[in-house]
Amino acid sequence: MAFLLIFFPLLMAGAAAIFKSNRWRPLFLPLTALPQLFFTIMVLVKPELAVTNSWLVLDPPGKIVLLLVNTLFLFCSLYAVSYLQYRKERDNRVFCACLIAFAGAVSLVTWSQHLALMWVAIEATTLVTAPLIYFNHNQLSIEAMWKYLLISSVGIALALLGTFFMAYSSMHGGKEATLSYVTLLKNAPHLSKTWLHLSFILLFIGYGTKMGLAPMHTWKPDSYGESPGIIGAILAGGLTSCAFLAFLRVYHICHAAGEFAYMSKTLVFMGLISMATAAIFMVGQRDLKRMLAYSSIEHMGIVTLGLGIGTPALFGTLLHIISNGLTKGVLFLSVGNIHRAFGSKNVDRVRGAIRLLPFSGTLFLIAFLAITGSPPFAPFVSIFAILNGAFEAEKYITAGLFLMFLLLVFIGMGAPILKALQGSSPVPNREKMIFRDTIASCGPIIGLMVLVFILGVYIPVPLSGLLNDAVHFLGGQP
């Protein structure tokens, strides 16, 4: 099963790469995404499929991320078809191939039970997403891609060193060096503390760079701002979740090694720092996509905070990964529509988007309210759960700061967004516009939004069961 999930997309990517017609190539995306999601669901319903060999096992957190990414991938690929129709002039060979390959890399990340293998997969996701950022070939996108590639490669390199340190810490006490997740978990208490701490730091920084935690976030606004909206969705919803999963495994090992007290301080601190950074850079932000990038930084900070709070907040944290991913999808796709309708993503030029694009504008507004934690949407539930966890862990100051940063982020984010959405639009007559809301360009967004809403009012029993399994797996009580 694992090989199917990993190699099917790669094959499709190859096919897309050699496929001739620029017009029909985009269809490969849904053609990959649908089976991919189907396989995923099959794995979820049939537990016996979840074990392929000792290296490739799909544990509950992996299931969550795999489900999330493939759902997101499906909607994005549906959207991509219409998007690439608008961008006929541009050759989409690399785009399609890399996007499809990304799905494969993600599957490898979720399945791999060997830390070094997982590292390879993460690096692979970096490498396949780099060309995607370069989709509209201009100087800014080159710069964005360069920064993205170099910064995250450096970060990932540190993560590799951390992985090695982890292995080295397992060598102590005359044991054979190992990087197998299960083995490490088994003899976690015997790991050498010093090396474990070092490897934790390195892995945190490494995968944190990939997640985009401050102050390693610097690549994020640039690459999100310069890439098409759909790529923003994939990066903010999928890539960061993969990095989070990778870090989650490290967290799990350290937790098993009884290092929680040590980690907790660091994680809470760094999470709050990320939220603060996001809030600070959002204020006075004029570029809508960069704004969303900072929002993504903020939410990575929130999940880090959740991990730092520990088992009381684990449920909320895992749920937040899902809700954040889906909502980010809505935000990026709709802002992509707005960008194309106005030919700009700068607040000074975008006005009255709701009047001009009734659907995209409204969806963007709703998603903004959702991502800032207004009921009745999914992020509200997860944020509230994390808050409850914070109070249960008696971290009052943390909870207070958390709420304060949420408010600051809301203020920083709302001012430009409302400025862009409300008011009367500069474009006089809607007939002359090149781009208008269509079913193809808004349907997928609406679908995602519906998911976000449903999760907000009612979490389906299988999903909550899955989340509880994950919490249990990570050592909390469900």
């Binding site: 170099l150 450096v154 102590h172 606004p221």
Partner: protein
């Protein structure tokens, strides 16, 4: 045996200083190539019992780190018909001093770490850390895009040196995967450098600073 390893590692450290000190990109590339070849030999020496996998691993390392990547880089450099000096943010001398500081830090740091007994007499860990730091120095103090890639490569070399200690933990496939990733990363970045060069007609990363707050 240990002495040979240590001499090799000392050579590698010296090469680090060469890469910091040389003012021409081409020469840095050569330095890195030599370093790659030396790295390739290390596994054979560290793990006394030879076997086919070990040979294969060191062979690929030598091929990739010592031959393929340097060739790519020199080609990328050749495409650029402009002056080929490194443009350091800080001068050559300060960066050498930084390198010295980094090496001493590495030694001190390792002296504080609880090593596995049989690694105590080997210079592997300090060499690895020192090389990494050298890579960081190159990454942060050089303006040319290509020199930054070289810095990244040296960083990877340092990590590779550490990796030698735990070949047991690394199955062959994973080993290959890591090497492949490094290779692809540098390959992609060489392509990007070519694109940068095409659209900015320079490799200076100071051109690449229009995205900011």
């Amino acid at each position: 045996m240990t002495n040979i390893i240590n001499t090799l590692l000392v050579l590698i450290l010296v090469l680090n200083f060469f890469s910091l000190g040389s003012s021409r990109i081409q020469s840095i590339i050569h330095t890195v190539a030599i370093q790659g070849v030396l790295l390739g030999f290390l596994p054979l020496l560290v793990h006394s019992h030879l076997n086919i996998w070990l040979l294969l691993a060191s062979l690929t390392a030598i091929v990739i780190k010592g031959i393929l990547i340097p060739n790519m880089m020199s080609r990328a450099l050749r495409n650029v018909q402009i002056k080929k000096e490194v443009e350091p943010l800080i001068g050559i001398m300060p960066s050498l001093i930084l390198g010295a500081i980094a090496t001493t830090f590495a030694l001190l740091f390792t002296s504080q770490m609880p090593l596995v007994p049989e690694h105590n007499d080997k210079l592997i860990v300090p060499a690895a850390i020192a090389t990494m730091l050298t890579g960081f120095i190159l990454l942060t103090t050089r303006f040319k895009a290509l020199t930054q890639v070289i810095g990244y490569l040296i960083l990877e070399n340092g990590i590779y040196i550490f990796g030698i200690l735990l070949l047991g933990a690394m199955p062959m496939v994973v080993e290959m995967g890591v090497l492949l990733d490094v290779f692809v990363a540098i390959f992609v970045s060489c392509i990007i450098i070519a694109k940068i060069n095409k659209s900015f007609s320079s490799m200076d990363t100071r051109m690449l600073s229009s995205l900011k707050e």
